[in-house]
Amino acid sequence: MQLEARLRELRSQGRKLLVPYVTGGIRDDWVDIARAMVDGGADALEIGIPFSDPAMDGPTIQEASAVALARGTTPASVFADLRGADLGVPLVAMTYYNLVFRAGHQRFAEALASSGICAAIVPDLCLEESREWEAEAAQANIETVLLAAPVTPDDRMAAICERSRGFVYGVGLMGVTGARPELAASTAELATRLKAHTDRPVLMGFGISTPDQAAEVAASADGVIVASALMRPVLDGASSESVGALVQQLRSGLDQTTTG
């Protein structure tokens, strides 16, 4: 399943896109959690491959990564868990570049592909550094999602939108991942700028946690990515069903926004 094709298809049906995130290996039953997310209405899933030094993540994803690593999670174990899981939606890996670099671009891309993942987000690879990876990933049919930030200037944003595959990831605020009580004003602004630059699906992430926030963002973007707001209850012991229910609420929030 190709990510971008799928998202374009859903968007063309007037659907706002929902991409929940789960840290691979965060619990024994993490694949069940992923499945519950799908059942709750996810259009694709972002699968975090935990890294020891998640410098772009806030406390929740840091903790999720640390917990997963402490359980012995490795990229290989995440891949193994996914192989044959057949979650029914496109899977996007999200990890830091050192795991990619250490494995080797080609090897890593092939490992992703063979476990059913079709795209990758590598947040510490900025435009200048990511070209090589993008090319080798593409060879393995892995789409590389590039990110744009509120401070990204127009010329750079154009290049990002041009080169990104799958979707364009709008980092809605200047900061790390994490739920926040208020939606950052920068989120809608960036979404609007990105939409003006590209026809590719534009998904916004960082700081989106409630159905209302999701709905508000989706007014100017094609969809949202929700991570910390889902991983917090997982860390606190919530059942996969209740996480699925949270996703469902987000889904409902988004569906209210759906424009014909």
Partner: protein
């Protein structure tokens, strides 16, 4: 000095999220321009001289030299204001911060020396200052925590990961990405995304440039060997920069438990590609060193390049040898070295009389900082 590519052979680069790209670019431009501007250089030189106490001496060690059968000269960065080479870097970055019009200055620190230096420069320039420091280091370098606070800086203990330097850098990056428009991140070593490794090396080359001139005055020529400790590698980079075009053999000394060059493999963390202690999968390993300033699993990318190109030889020493080196220098020369540069000394002590450092060798070693911050810890070991 023209603009720099940000690459050192296969190493270096700028591995940062898009949110930080404009700030890195702005800094690169600001530094490139400033470094070519005579007024900036004059202002920095003035500060280094009248505020920070440069030039620092190159001190003979008569008693220890005699015991070791070599001629040992110490480049006395311990005599600078705040007590380590870190001040050279922060004053330059504080000036740039003023140039860029940012009111806030953040830093990570391991041994606390960079944090103290950053807090100092921030006070001197009226900048708000926050310093991130791993909880482990907050404990073992308590004196420096107090100093930072008295200087008006906020010290934020970091409880993630190994709770040492690498985690403090992560936390500083997290702050920076959320505050980049008002904040300059003052990195304390030759690590991080371009332009940091280049910029910090240039700001530290005053150590090597001075030492070379002083060694020529004292020795009538260049020393046989130049030695410096390597954590991130800024004092070593600054030192070696002054001797790269001489015949002196250059030796970088790592902590055994943090020997990124000695036992690391290529990897990317904290914004650049370099050698890194990590596992098979690419998870960063925790370094383990008695010295907070060398307790870091990475190393500056230029060192990785120097190692690959055999421009510098890298060795490592263990904690015990380091502690005895501190004691030995204190008792023979009356100089209390920080644990970090004591690594360099420990290697010199071990190598003296061997093929590495034959009798009669002339050796310049950078004494990157004073040991006041470490004495409580050392006494605790007794």
């Amino acid at each position: 000095m023209s603009e720099h590519s940000g690459r050192f052979g296969d190493f270096g680069g700028r591995y940062v999220p898009e949110a930080l790209v404009p700030a890195c670019a702005e800094l690169e431009k600001a530094f490139s321009e400033a470094w070519q501007a005579p007024e900036f250089r004059a202002e920095l030189d003035g500060l280094l001289r009248t505020y920070a106490g440069r030039p620092t001496e190159l001190t003979e060690c008569p008693r220890l030299s005699e015991e070791l059968g070599i001629r040992l000269l110490l480049k006395r960065e311990d005599l600078t204001h705040t007590g380590s080479h870190k001040i050279n870097n922060v004053l330059g970055q504080a000036l740039l911060t003023r140039t860029m019009g940012k009111p806030r200055f953040i830093a990570e620190t391991g041994a606390g020396q960079h944090g103290v230096a950053a807090a100092t420069a921030a006070a001197r320039f009226g900048l708000e200052c926050v310093v991130y420091m791993g909880e482990v280091d907050v404990e073992r370098q308590e004196l420096n925590v107090f100093r930072m606070r008295l200087l008006g800086a906020e010290v934020r203990p970091v409880s993630s990961g190994s709770r040492t330097l690498k985690d403090a850098i992560n936390e500083a990056l997290r702050d920076w990405v959320a505050s980049v428009e008002s904040t300059h991140y003052c990195i304390g070593s030759v690590v991080g995304p371009h332009p940091y490794p280049w910029m910090v090396r240039e700001l530290q080359r005053v150590v090597g440039d001075e030492a070379r001139g002083q060694a020529r005055d004292l020795l009538g020529g260049d020393p046989d060997v130049v030695v410096a400790c390597v954590g991130g590698g800024s004092n070593a980079a600054g030192t070696f920069a002054g001797f790269l075009d001489t015949d002196a053999r250059l030796v970088g000394v790592e902590a055994e438990g943090g020997a990124a060059v000695g036992r690391g493999v290529p990897g990317v963390v904290h914004g650049s590609k370099s050698l890194l202690l990590q596992d098979e999968e690419g998870q960063i390993a925790e370094a383990h060193s008695i010295s907070a300033g060398l307790d870091y699993p990475g190393v500056g990318p230029e060192h990785a390049h120097w190692a690959a190109s055999d421009a510098v030889r890298y060795v490592s020493v263990g904690d015990d040898a380091v502690v005895s080196a501190v004691r030995r220098l204190a008792r023979t020369e009356g100089i209390l070295a920080a644990l970090e540069p004591a690594h360099a000394l420990a290697w010199i002590i071990a190598a003296s009389g061997t093929d590495e450092l034959p009798a009669g060798s002339t050796v310049v070693m950078t004494l990157s900082g004073r040991g006041d911050k470490d004495v409580a810890h050392l006494i605790g070991l007794e």
